[in-house]
């Protein structure tokens, strides 16, 4: 209705206030923003990675590799515990979720089961993750169904924690690490200057293990292909082969602290300290193997293989190797961050330098300004100073509200998002065009000024709502299926639909009602 209704004026004033309040931090420097009192909004528009520069990594947790490894450990546990119990084994057959153990002497089966049951640890709520069952004259040792099912999901959760610890310790700001789907992690690091470093930090599993070197069997035979069961051939970084027992004495899980230090010869080394369990195991293993070498292995690569001179019971020691200080400190960071439960594979990587982002912002700003100017000129030219001017005021309010909403929600503004913004302006004036054209029609068919303006608003409104809803549907689909920049585009489009309906229609209603009241016109200026 074309009279100056109070609630419309109030609504307009409130949206203007909202716009000013929330868009205001964008003109401040970061220092000024920090100085704002706490009750004032202080966040500006959040720029997407393509505009401020940064790295986007989509990582996939290699769950099959992790399952494989867990099954290997299961088999080695069984082998070790049966050897210690003096139960000879003829074969360990790998199955989907566990192993099947065949004994040399079936009469020992009860003894074997008892020995293996000791491996089953009961969790806090009374659940177990593995079971030992007799099947005929063989023993099935397997993960429970529930443990198999949650293995992947647990690994992803754990990986996110580890990645966060590693990346945060390098002091980069605002890194976002989120889960995507069942087996994926998205890392978004704005302003990360060296994407290669970022990738190196998340690319290493950092599984540290202490294993005995197999001195009973021949390394030459193993290299020729006859690897004894329970052992494996590993290499160091210069390619020297080692025959190492598969059984893990102590692993990085028992590490409480690692640090860069120097050895007796003033060479860079890594100092470490075990927790109670680790210290006990390490002490027992070193006491039983004095004079033999053991290997310190990181991600399948032998770092060093010192000979045990005496039992190490204190739970701490140093790893000597040919490290530079930088390598050592990176390794310490990895060790302190903890090991990834499974390797992470980079599936997608997008990196934009800060300079490129700044250029994109500039190009976006210029084209937005030019686009805006074109619309202003066109509207003023088509509908004159009054009607056109009212649309321009609506457009300005629209721009203000979009900036305010983006600042408030924290949605990222991306380069396609800028395009969405410009397009939103074009579509926003469509509401005015629909209303004005309708008014013209009505006025030409002989109605009075008030009647034609009234009819213009009423009849155009249904069309405007219908037309905007279709844009919302398109934006919704982009949210569901799009990622990154596309989602930024969907954000501006969605916000733009709401703000443009509000500003274009409301500003026109209030502005024109005011004009009617003041000027008391005899004819509609746009209808000639």
């Amino acid at each position: 209705m074309i009279h100056l209704s109070r609630w419309k004026v109030v609504l307009l004033a409130l949206s203007l206030l909202f716009g000013l309040l929330f868009a205001f931090p964008n003109v401040l420097t970061p220092a000024q923003r920090a100085a704002l009192p706490g009750w004032l909004p202080s966040s500006g528009v959040n720029l997407g990675l393509d505009l401020q520069g940064g790295s986007y990594l989509l990582l996939e947790v290699d769950v099959p590799a992790m399952r494989e490894k867990r099954l290997t450990n299961l088999a080695e546990d069984a082998r070790t515990v049966l050897t210690e119990a003096n139960v000879p084994v003829t074969g360990i057959v790998r199955q989907e979720d566990g192993v099947m153990v065949a004994l040399a002497n079936p009469a020992q089966i009860d003894q074997a089961i008892e020995a293996m049951r000791a491996l089953v640890t009961v969790g806090p709520s009374g659940t177990v993750d593995r079971t030992v069952q007799r099947q005929g004259d063989r023993i099935r040792y397997a993960f429970t169904e529930r443990a198999m099912a949650s293995m992947g999901s647990d690994a992803v959760t754990q990986s996110i924690e580890v990645v966060r610890r590693r990346l945060d310790s390098t002091g980069t700001k605002e890194i976002s690490i989120t889960r995507q789907g069942a087996e994926r992690i998205v890392v978004q690091a704005p302003g990360q200057s060296d994407p290669a470093e970022l990738e190196r930090l998340v690319g290493q599993t950092a599984q540290l293990t202490f294993q005995m070197v197999d001195v009973e069997n021949s390394l030459q035979e193993a290299l020729a292909g006859a690897v004894p069961p329970g052992s494996e051939v590993l290499f160091d970084d210069v390619g020297t082969p080692y025959l190492v027992k598969r059984r893990i004495l102590v692993s990085g899980e028992n590490l409480t602290k690692a640090e860069v230090t120097t050895d007796a010869n003033q060479q860079t080394a890594i100092g470490f300290r075990f927790d109670g369990q680790g210290a006990r195991r390490f002490g027992e293993a070193t006491a039983a193997n004095i004079g033999r070498p053991f290997a310190i292995i990181l991600d399948g690569k032998v770092i060093s293989a010192p000979t045990i001179r005496s039992a190490i019971t204190g739970g701490s020691g140093i790893i000597e190797g040919r490290f530079s200080i930088q390598e050592a400190s990176e390794m310490v960071n990895l060790l302190n961050g903890g090991a990834l439960p499974a390797p992470l594979k980079v599936q997608e990587r997008r990196t934009v330098t800060a300079e490129l982002g700044a250029d994109a912002v500039q190009a976006g700003a210029i084209s937005t300004a030019v686009g805006f100017l074109i619309i202003v000129l066109f509207m003023l030219g088509s509908y004159g100073l009054l009607f056109g001017g009212i649309s321009v005021i609506g457009l300005l309010l629209n721009g203000l509200l979009i900036i305010a909403s983006m600042s408030m929600i924290g949605a990222a503004l991306t380069l396609p998002g800028i395009a969405g913004l410009v397009l939103t302006f074009a579509v926003a004036v469509d509401a005015n065009v629909l209303i004005y054209e309708r008014m013209r029609d009505e006025a030409r068919s002989g109605r009075s000024v008030i009647a034609s303006m009234d009819a213009g608003f009423n009849k155009a409104m249904g069309t405007i709502v219908d037309a905007n809803l279709t844009t919302l549907v398109a934006a919704l689909i982009m949210f569901v299926f799009g990622a990154g920049p596309v989602r930024g585009f969907a954000w501006t489009l969605t916000i733009g639909v709401f703000t443009s309906m509000l500003s274009a229609v409301l500003v026109a209603q209030v502005g024109l009602a005011l004009w009617l009241k003041v000027a008391k016109p005899k004819k509609l200026p746009i209808a000639e």
Partner: protein, 327 residues
């Protein structure tokens, strides 16, 4: 009150007989659509790395220096990474194509470590043309690219279905069919443009097409709204005349809004830099064909199917399309 004569794009009242030419334009649209569909398979879409996997590397020399594109192509091809594309683009800071900036696209071999492959390519480029800066890197694994492509197509399909449902719900089934025919027409022709201009088909392009779908519907809804209103108002007027009348009545708005959007997108295409060019061109073209289709595809389809008119007859009245004479 006003200080200048208003721009008049059209006379106050137009009386174009759009439906008269519907058959002609319908045939033209059909031919273009078929050509576009064929074009999508042969020569085929220029798939960006979003959808086909691989890596793209942006390489730049300082302004004024020229990159030897052939040397880059040669040295990177020697690494045996399959199809290597090297394309010169406009400088990011000045938006001028002075030959100092290029994009290199290549494939990551199955199972290879992408970090190392990218490093080798960087080494080869530096070896061929000396010191350059690498300002942007994108790597998409083959698994992810397949998924992105699939979800992109699903998004487009879903958009068409939802729009159909919306129009069906808001209007009538015949209107829905007309709207969807117009929509498919627009989408197919935008694909045709992408093929003809060798634009890169990427995630951003899918967003552009979704926007075209939204806009095309927007335009169609405005015409249909008026059509519905006029069908109620002029109960005895022949359907073809009601359609002509409705299109004429909304023509002024159609042209003003369409023109505004096209001008703004032109600014975006030519000032927004390399990254927005393809995106803006596709949007601009989509808006033009969207405007055309709401006149020449959507409404005539309704004519073909007929429509229920309140009171006068309950059965839809199919009307033969043709150059039949008007009184």
């Amino acid at each position: 009150m006003r200080g200048w004569p208003l721009i008049k794009l059209l006379p106050q009242k137009t009386n174009f007989q759009f439906v008269r030419f519907a058959k002609l334009f319908g045939a033209l649209s059909a031919v273009l659509c078929i050509a576009s569909i064929i074009g999508c398979f042969w020569p085929g879409l220029n798939m960006g790395i979003d959808f086909r996997g691989g890596a793209s590397l942006e390489v730049a020399k300082p302004a004024g220096q020229v990159l030897a594109l052939d040397d880059i192509r040669g040295s990177v091809s020697d690494l045996g990474l399959g199809d290597v594309q090297v394309q010169g683009i406009a400088r990011r800071d000045t938006n001028v194509a002075d030959g100092s900036t290029a994009v290199v696209r290549f494939q990551i071999p199955e199972g290879a470590d992408q970090t190392q492959v990218v490093r080798r390519v960087e080494g080869a480029i530096s070896g061929a043309v000396g010191e350059v800066t690498y300002s942007g890197v994108e790597v998409v694994g083959s698994k992810v690219s397949g998924e992105l492509f699939r979800s992109g197509l699903i998004a487009l399909g879903l958009a068409v279905v939802l729009m159909f449902a919306y129009i069906w719900f808001r209007f009538e089934p015949q209107f829905g069919l007309g709207a969807v025919a117009g929509l498919l027409h627009d989408v197919i022709l935008v694909f045709g443009l992408i093929v003809v201009m060798r634009l890169e088909f990427s995630l951003n392009m899918v967003a552009a097409i979704l926007t075209v779908i939204g806009y095309s519907m927007n335009d169609t809804v405005v015409v249909f709204d008026r059509l519905r209103e006029n069908l109620r108002k002029y109960k005895t007027m022949p359907l073809r005349e009601v359609i002509d009348l409705s299109i004429n009545e909304t023509l002024s708005r159609t042209i003003i809004t369409g023109l505004t959007a096209v001008m703004v997108l032109a600014a975006l295409a030519f000032l927004g830099g390399e990254a927005l060019f393809g995106f803006s061109i596709a949007l601009m073209f989509g808006i033009i064909v969207g405007t055309y289709s709401s006149i020449y595809v959507g409404a005539p389809i309704i004519l073909l199917w007929g429509v229920k008119r309140g009171g006068s007859s309950d059965e839809p009245q199919p009307v033969k399309l043709g150059m039949a004479s008007r009184p």
